[in-house]
Symmetry: C2
Subunit: 157 residues, 2 copies
């Protein structure tokens, strides 16, 4: 029987090619992603099945100014850093990250792949802080620019 | 050690009280929900851990005009109906529902609780169709109104 485009069965997800990406600011941040939301036609919910190998981070320590993000751990053991403090996380744990809130990152501290389901808003435009680098990324559709904190100034009244 | 508000561990989620709701149009649609996103301060991503007991539906067969929704099955066996066709779903299956797309519902057809993680946009304003009832629900903040399809008319040019 045919499967409708809204439904991705576990076997189909397993067969999907993953997109592996190394973070531009952190060579140890390597994650592979399967875009489940986009595959079913979603435009405003980014739903990604993410895998991070042992010893790697999912991302560089960061926070977003506009986009909310969250993740739910499906397999493995890790450490989430929130506001420069580490916390152990495992299967069934959830982390929600309000915009302009605490910075965070996620490490795989176990010996198995760390697998989690991540959700985000898919905003076309956003701003992201990397506090450990003192750099800010401005995202605008298919273009971006990275600037040092020192370059940013107050907007005129 | 204290746990920050962004982190909900599995044990804390298990201890959260669930909100059980029977659908206004379907006495057999009974689901219990834990609002993980709201508990961590998210306002634009609704993340709910949902449980449906055997023999029950998660919702009345419906579709949204504006809000995107999706879910990922964590435990149990069910049947998702999409555009009036049934499809078996189980652990690791994902369903994404674009706005103004196919109508859908989800049934627990197994003997264990059906548990899934649902994500939605949390729009303050939305419109929802119930095709089997030929009724439409207009949602506006903390108020709503249900009307028959026959009451709706084209907007003047």
């Amino acid at each position: 029987m045919h499967t409708p485009p809204e439904l991705l069965r576990a076997a189909a997800i397993a067969a999907m090619p993953a997109q592996t990406k190394t973070h531009l600011l952190n060579p140890n941040a390597v994650r592979s992603a399967k875009a489940l939301g986009a595959a079913t036609g979603l435009k405003h919910l980014g739903i990604h099945l993410m895998t991070v190998q042992p010893g790697h981070a999912a991302t560089e320590y960061h926070r977003h100014h506009y986009e909310e993000q969250c993740f739910y751990v499906l397999a493995g053991q890790g450490e989430v850093w929130i506001d420069e403090q580490p916390y152990a996380v495992g299967v069934g744990d959830f982390v929600g990250l309000p915009a302009r809130g605490a910075a965070h990152t996620l490490l795989n501290t176990g010996s198995e792949p760390l697998v989690f389901l991540a959700a985000r808003q898919m905003l076309a435009q956003d701003v992201c802080d990397y506090p450990r680098q003192r750099q800010r990324l401005y995202m605008d559709g298919d273009e971006e620019v990275l600037v040092a904190y020192e370059q940013i100034r107050p907007a005129p009244g």
